[in-house]
């Protein structure tokens, strides 16, 4: 048995392509994620929105002063005629037109236009407040103005478990799910190689006196082990090299990796056991299943996960990638032990079912002549 395990270990490690998928690909993708979501803070992205200012005869000096105060800070204002402003708006040279009659014209519903919208909204409301106070408590005007100057955010986001939350994290949770599920590649490869009708190696092993169960057990154990190390490497890389805020308990997260690898490899094993399809076709199948599963868990866009959960709630309970991502949420965001355990049990049961299915497909297989 040890002999079998040793050689399977060597063989799997030397199979560059499946090691690429299971080990390198998640690391490359994580680095890309870090670049795409990690850099570029809000201030950096939305510096100085260009706007046109149109003065009319019934103009409002206070509003003009307000815009001047914003100029160079959040806005880049330029005074011009209405005709010119409309032309510039149509050419996309300005994001919006402020009229000194406290009106705004925009051409799209981009993030920039909604910033302009909320800027004007705040002004209109503050003006109404000041007029209110000036008419009833003019003596307190100064205090009120000071209070207005201290306009702050009054909310603070915490996770259900009390930790703060970074939305970019959801991509990394889905990525960890992908890293685990890509264990299907080594799993598939192992199955292909042990089947006598698909590989010469399988045929050779078939005629050896070693019991089939022993053989399959040895290779499965080694593959699970390797895949666990692969996903643990991805976890450490994301946590310590890319420095993402995976604040949860490390032991707990490694346990998710272990169960996740189990389901990934099992998925490969079950596909490897089905029929006599060529390896290319089987790779296509596992790729399709894992990509769509990860897509639904939010790998491409967190909106997809939210949308899927709203449309078909049970899909998140049975989709392996969603269950793995949810387990990470439970540890890092919700701090919810009960649901975390529930996720792990779900993974274990699903893996068990898959391995059983694989066993049923291959048991009592006999070859007369190959």
């Amino acid at each position: 048995m040890l002999h079998l395990m040793k050689y399977r270990l060597k063989q799997t490690l030397r199979e560059k392509s499946s090691m690429f998928w299971a080990l390198c690909f998640p690391l490359i993708l994580a680095t890309l994620f870090r670049f795409a979501f990690g850099s570029g803070s809000f201030d950096e992205v939305f510096q100085k929105i260009p706007v046109a200012v149109v003065m009319t005869s019934e103009g409002n000096e206070t509003f003009r002063e307000f815009l001047d105060a914003m100029d160079g800070d959040m806005l880049k204002t330029e005074e011009m005629s209405e005709e010119k402003a409309l032309k510039k708006l149509a050419a996309g040279e300005v994001e919006g037109i402020f009229y000194d009659t406290k009106r705004l014209a925009v051409s799209s519903n981009s993030i920039k236009s909604s910033i302009l919208n909320s800027l004007l909204d705040t002004y209109v409301k503050n003006e109404a407040m000041m007029l209110d106070i000036a008419s009833k408590h003019p003596e307190r005007m100064q205090d009120a103005l000071q209070a207005m100057g201290e306009f702050t955010s009054t909310t603070e986001e915490v996770s259900a478990g009390g930790r703060s939350l970074d939305t970019g994290l959801s991509f990394f949770f889905a990525l960890m799910a992908m890293s685990c599920l890509y264990g299907c590649f080594p799993g598939l490869q192992v199955m292909q190689e042990t089947r006598a009708n698909l590989a010469a190696l399988g045929a050779r092993q078939c005629i050896s006196p070693t019991h089939r169960l022993k053989r399959i057990l040895a290779v499965s154990l080694v593959t699970y082990g390797i895949q666990f190390v692969n996903s643990a490497v991805a976890l450490f890389y994301i946590r310590f090299v890319l420095k993402m805020d995976f604040g949860g308990n490390m032991g707990g997260m490694l346990l998710i990796c272990l169960m996740g690898s189990l389901i990934g490899v099992s998925m490969g094993i079950v596909v490897g056991c089905i029929g006599k399809m060529r390896e290319g076709a089987k790779v296509g199948i596992v790729l399709a299943v894992s990509m769509i599963s990860c897509g639904l868990a939010g790998l491409y866009s967190s909106d997809i996960k939210v949308m899927a959960e709203e449309a078909i709630p049970w899909i998140g309970r049975v989709n392996p990638a969603s269950v793995i991502a949810d387990a990470f949420y439970c540890l890092n965001v919700y701090n919810d032990k009960a649901r975390y355990t529930q996720c792990l049990v779900t993974l274990a049961v699903m893996s068990g079912v898959m391995v059983l299915a694989g066993f049923l497909f291959t048991r009592r297989e006999r070859y007369d002549s190959i």
């Binding site: 998928w21 149509a90 009054t154 939350l165 290319g280 939210v306």
Partner: protein
């Protein structure tokens, strides 16, 4: 013609795999289109959300806030313990939970204490809720500083809330300033093209096997003609996939798309992108190991995935250009997909293109074209070197 037919014959043998990959990538694309357009609609309409308010304070300010939020959203009763909150968020019973802590009224007015909010992770429309709470509480603070009592302040803030900014939409496109649905499908088009054509380039590997190469050199046809036949076959394959993609666009939002003022530019831009993807695929096919097709296939799919996903993430296919960081954009502008996306965004937003926009459009297409030519040149160069070996 024989070589051309040979390429297509090999490709048709792999057709089931090509279709499989096409279906996978297309379904991801369609999934993303639905998510993105749904998000756009939500950001437009101030939607009523299911929320929960846990009031541990019970004071006047807390009541006022509850009433204020209750007018805009639907307040659900979910219980008060941490477990209840987790349960409600996990099963999406509510999307937003705000906890008003004990003695909040004093804490907030005297020390600026903050409210604790919890959202469903990954969903963004709740940002508006934050700003609604900000407006309410800051308003109360200003009024109390201005000499009003808390209950008076609450009443006045609710009154002031009725003042809304007057915003006019002068849309530059037919869809009223919103992006049409097909714009999103075109946004994912580079990913589909790069991935599917990349996989198709496996055909080249078979042609580069030693025996086949030797056999082909014996023929009376010049190597240049053979290569040209290969290129022509690749263009045919690309054309077929491009047509299938356009048919899908038509099937999903044909009416809208046919009415678009920029339909010609959309087609041209995607056609140029298809050529880029073909050129990349052609280059990959030339680089892939040819000594044994089996591992060549695997190496190829690894490289194809890294290139297609890499370009897609850096150039605004998955993450919109407007939220990408400056450094990322600085790198991305050397890549063709970035220019494709810049053009696509512009076409989505403006029905009438100014001279300057047309300048950007042609520049973008020229950069894409130059990239494609460079890839083919490198590929042919490598092909030549391999031949000499």
């Amino acid at each position: 013609m024989t070589v051309y037919k040979g390429y297509l014959k090999l490709w048709s043998k792999e057709l089931h795999l090509v279709f499989l990959y096409f279906a996978i990538f297309m379904s991801v694309g369609i999934m993303m289109q639905f998510a993105a357009s749904k998000k756009q609609e939500e950001s437009y309409a101030s939607e009523q959300l299911d929320i929960a308010v846990i009031d541990e304070d019970g004071g006047e300010l807390a009541e006022g806030l509850k009433e204020y939020l209750g007018k805009i959203h639907k307040i659900q009763d979910i219980g008060e313990t941490a477990k209840d909150v987790q349960e409600a968020l996990f099963y999406r019973k509510v999307k937003y939970v705000v906890t008003i802590p004990e003695n909040f009224e004093r804490g907030f007015l005297e020390h600026g204490e903050k409210l604790k909010t919890t959202k469903v992770p990954g969903s963004e429309q709740e940002v508006y809720l934050d700003s609604q709470i900000d407006t309410f509480l800051n308003g109360v603070r200003v009024y109390t500083a201005g000499g009003y009592s808390v209950s008076e302040a609450i009443g006045h803030v609710k009154n002031v809330e009725k003042n809304k900014a007057e915003v006019k939409m002068i849309a530059n496109n037919e869809t009223g300033g919103m992006k049409a649905n097909y714009v999103y499908l075109f946004q994912y088009f580079p990913y589909i093209m790069l991935a599917v054509l990349g996989y198709s380039s496996g055909v080249l590997i078979s042609f580069r096997r030693k025996e086949i190469r030797q056999r082909m050199y014996c023929s009376s046809k010049s190597v240049i003609r053979q290569n040209m036949a290969g290129v022509a076959a690749f263009v045919t394959i690309g054309g077929i996939i491009w047509v299938v993609c356009m048919v899908i666009v038509l099937a999903m939002s044909g009416k809208e798309f046919l009415k678009s003022a920029n339909i010609g530019y959309y087609l041209l831009n995607s056609l140029v992108m298809m050529l880029v993807a073909l050129a990349v695929a052609f280059m990959l096919g030339m680089f892939a190991r040819d000594n044994d097709t089996h591992s060549g296939d695997h190496n190829l799919s690894a490289v194809v995935n890294v290139i297609s996903l890499g370009m897609s993430f850096l150039c605004g296919v998955f993450v919109p250009l407007e939220v990408l960081g400056k450094e990322v954009k600085a790198v991305a502008q050397f890549l063709p997909v970035y220019w494709y996306e810049v053009i696509n965004e512009m076409l989505g937003e403006f029905d009438v293109l100014t001279t300057e926009m047309l300048g950007t459009l042609w520049k973008g297409m020229a950069i894409q074209g130059a990239f494609a030519v460079a890839c083919v040149a490198v590929a042919l160069g490598v092909g030549g070197r391999v031949r000499e070996v």
